[in-house]
Amino acid sequence: MLFHNLRIAWKSLKRNRALSILIVTGIALGIAVSTTFATVRHSFAKDPIPTRSGVLYYVRLDSWDPLKPYPGADSTLPPTQVTYRDMTEIMKSDIPSRQGGMFKTALYVFPDAKIGQPFRETIRLCFSDFFPMFDVPFRYGSGWDKKADEGPEPVVVLSDEMNDKLFGGKNSVGKTVRISDRDFRVVGVLADWAPSVKIYDLTQNFIEKPEKIYMPFNFVKPMQLRTFGNSDGWGSSGGLSGFDGFLQSESCWIQMWVELPDKAAVSKYKDFLAAYVLDQKKHGRFQRPVNNRVSTVEEWMRDQRVVPPETTAMLIVSLLFLGVCAVNLVGLLLGKFLARSSEVGVRRALGASRADIFVQHVVECELIGVVGGAIGLALSVGALALLNQWLKTTQLRGDYFHLDIPMVLLSVGLSLAAGLAAGLYPAWRTCRLSPAVHLSLQ
């Protein structure tokens, strides 16, 4: 029966080609626009690390100026990063099963003379727990161990891209790379790794790809490394100067993550932080009200406004656009169906029930929805490719927006819903006409 209805629907579409093209184009445009912008927003909003987001927490402490809150859109939030002093102190806690502060810097890499000139590269300094915490995939070797954190031992992890550049893609574990003024031993090479947002550091351009070199955090002192990310300071320098002064200062520049296996650990860790801040208050620091944050991945993304507001606005506008297309479709279908009411009259006179007529017309609408939806989906693939191309020129990343299964399902769902919503009334009107009226028009 369905097949029969589909055949009739197909014939009906073919009969008035111009009108059918108009109808299908309308719905295809609506689906293309709404799928594209739903996908754009989804690319930012989706969980970038579903395997780990349940246990990872971002730590913030309000060590800011007693006289006024940390500047930003939401004045209830503490600084986005922690100070060096606070990081070293709170990392003494054994409540987190894994933890670590991190930051990025830029240093010269001196490749083999055959490969080329020295080049400056962004490097992330982190602790050994970084790799298991963020589920970082390895092609060769692995991260370093706690002993290397303590040393610090001169070890590095390279991205696959950096390994291609320096070692022609071969297994380079055990080989040496010269960075700035010392030699580092390669202990691991990453497999392809590009989370949708650079979740571990949302303080700056977070749709960038991850850094290409990782080294132990504790090189910060011997190499006197400064952050190339944001560093927010306030108040008096306290007479401190130079690099040690910077480490002792109230400047906030480190991203701090902890892994807490369960709710109990979370509340225990929050208590620990509260006790730490109260203790610091005795020493004259932390003079603002206690405002510690142990945020889930989702909360941290919300606070940092990872989803650009324009994408939400565009999604709303594009769904309304689809609404207009559907309303438009109702009008066109109504015209189309009523124009061939004589044919319906003949069918009714020959014994077709109202339900038969109704179902037949709804099937025709759904066919339009599906055909339009398929074209719309194809158009949105093209639109997303264009957006990726644009992104590549501004952000050097051309693989950001792509349709995933939830978005394809959404698109199909929207097509069927639009077809149904637009078709119900015209189909009902058509089946309600009495056969006599249909025939009398002949």
């Binding site: 006024k68 240093l107 565009m314 309303v327 009523l338």
Partner: protein, 421 residues
């Protein structure tokens, strides 16, 4: 006029006309809000920096040779770089500064009027030399510029003061306060001294270190993460170190930018190859900074065109349908003496009524959608003028979409009326 018959016919076909009313209303709401967002984007992008953006080139020198770790070597190479850059034909001005316009950030600090005990105000802060204002194309409106001698001696003096920890007093701030001369923007001056002149006045920072205003520039706008885009303080110093390298702003004479750019890297590396050199046009940096806003405006423009297309399609469909259904009525009217113009006018009027109803509803929707967008996503408030413009646009689009099908209706021959009876 045929108001009576039209309204009666509309009442009999509520749904069909209702659909067009809804479509027109939604279209007006979306178009008005899109245009509103586009205008906001354009407005943001059109804010002038106050600099000669089109002729400025940014040069970054990043040392890797260990010799650059030594202060004297760094100073010499900086002087040498500036000489090399000045000697390139077509160069109008050269400056060593950490300031780079249009990168979406920079550095900032907090100050207040000396002795005011008031709130600390945040401002952008960058080093400048005698060529910075010239290289930017910024206009000094009061006071004086820095000199080359001043820049060199101040750089040395401050470096010595900050080379070691400074003894602090009971309040935790350094005992000995420093004082530097600064140039500020007019907007920052107005913020600090709402009812007086800024020139000659002093500021202090959280350490009690002082800043004397010796110059004021007309305009400064550099978008920043915090709302301090127009507040700046320049202090005389050179900026260079081993890790960060040195940054230069070079202003080319009009029309010479490409030629200047082409020779910079070669000239600098030839004078010292212990570093790498990066050369960028300021316009490119600006474009990258504005790319997202520009893209948004373009997408919204495309959406508006598509939407008007869809809506016109709907109106064409309705009119065709309306004409087909009434072929015999038209014939009858024509047979009874109605002119073609009467028929045409009838359809145009019918459409005009439907569109106008839709627009009336759409005005409410446009403001409603704007309120929703502003509260959910932030954005500009709706300007009533834009809604009015949208109404005009849709009136015209509606009439244009009706015209051809209605003309076809007007061509129905009177004979048709009798044919099927």
């Amino acid at each position: 006029m045929e108001f009576g018959p039209i309204l009666r016919s509309m009442r009999r076909n509520k749904v069909r006309y209702g659909l067009i009313v809804a479509e027109v209303a939604l279209t007006l709401a979306i178009v008005a809000n899109c245009v509103n967002m586009i205008r906001d984007s354009r407005r943001q992008m059109a804010i002038p920096s106050g600099f000669d953006d089109d002729n400025i080139i940014r040069v970054a020198s990043r040392p890797f040779a260990p010799a650059f770790k030594e202060d004297g070597y760094l100073d010499n190479s900086l002087r040498q770089d500036m000489e090399v850059l000045r000697a390139i034909p077509g160069v109008k001005a050269v400056s060593n500064t950490r300031f780079l316009p249009w990168q979406g950030g920079g550095s900032s600090m907090e100050t207040r009027v000396l002795g005011s005990k008031g709130e600390m105000l945040r401002n952008q802060v960058y080093n400048a030399d005698e060529g910075t204002l010239d290289a930017l194309g910024a206009r000094l409106i009061e006071g004086r510029n820095f000199t080359r001698e001043e820049t060199a001696s101040e750089a040395l003096r401050m470096r010595q003061i900050f080379a070691k920890a400074r003894p602090v007093g009971a309040d935790g701030t350094p005992l000995e306060k420093t004082s530097q001369d600064i140039i500020i923007s007019k907007a920052f001056g107005a913020l600090l001294f709402p009812d007086g002149k800024a020139l000659g006045k002093r500021l202090e920072d959280s350490d009690g270190d002082q800043y004397r205003i010796v110059g004021v520039i007309d305009r400064f706008y550099n978008p920043y993460g915090w709302p301090i885009h127009e507040y700046v303080m320049f202090f005389p110093s050179y900026s260079r170190n081993f890790v960060g390298g040195a940054g230069y702003l070079v202003r080319a004479e009009p029309g010479k930018k490409a030629a200047v750019m082409a020779s910079i890297e070669k000239a600098l590396v030839a004078s010292n190859n212990g570093r790498s050199v990066q050369v960028q046009e300021l316009t490119q940096i600006k474009e990258r900074f504005q790319a997202r806003t520009a893209l948004l405006a373009n997408i919204l423009s495309i959406l508006i065109v598509l939407l008007l297309f869809i809506t016109s399609l709907g109106i064409v469909g309705l009119t065709v349908f309306s004409v087909n259904e009434r072929t015999r009525q038209i014939g009858t009217r024509r047979a009874l003496g109605a002119q073609r113009g009467d028929i045409l006018r009838y359809f145009l009027l019918e459409n005009w009524i439907v569109t106008t109803l839709g627009l009336a509803l759409g005005i409410l929707l446009a403001f409603g959608l704007n309120v929703a967008l502003v509260s959910k996503v932030a954005g500009p408030r709706m300007e009533p003028g834009l809604v009015a413009l949208g109404v005009l646009l849709l009136w015209v689009a509606g009439l244009a979409a009706t015209f051809l099908p209605a003309l076809r209706g007007a061509r129905v021959a009177p004979a048709v009326a009798t044919r099927n009876v």
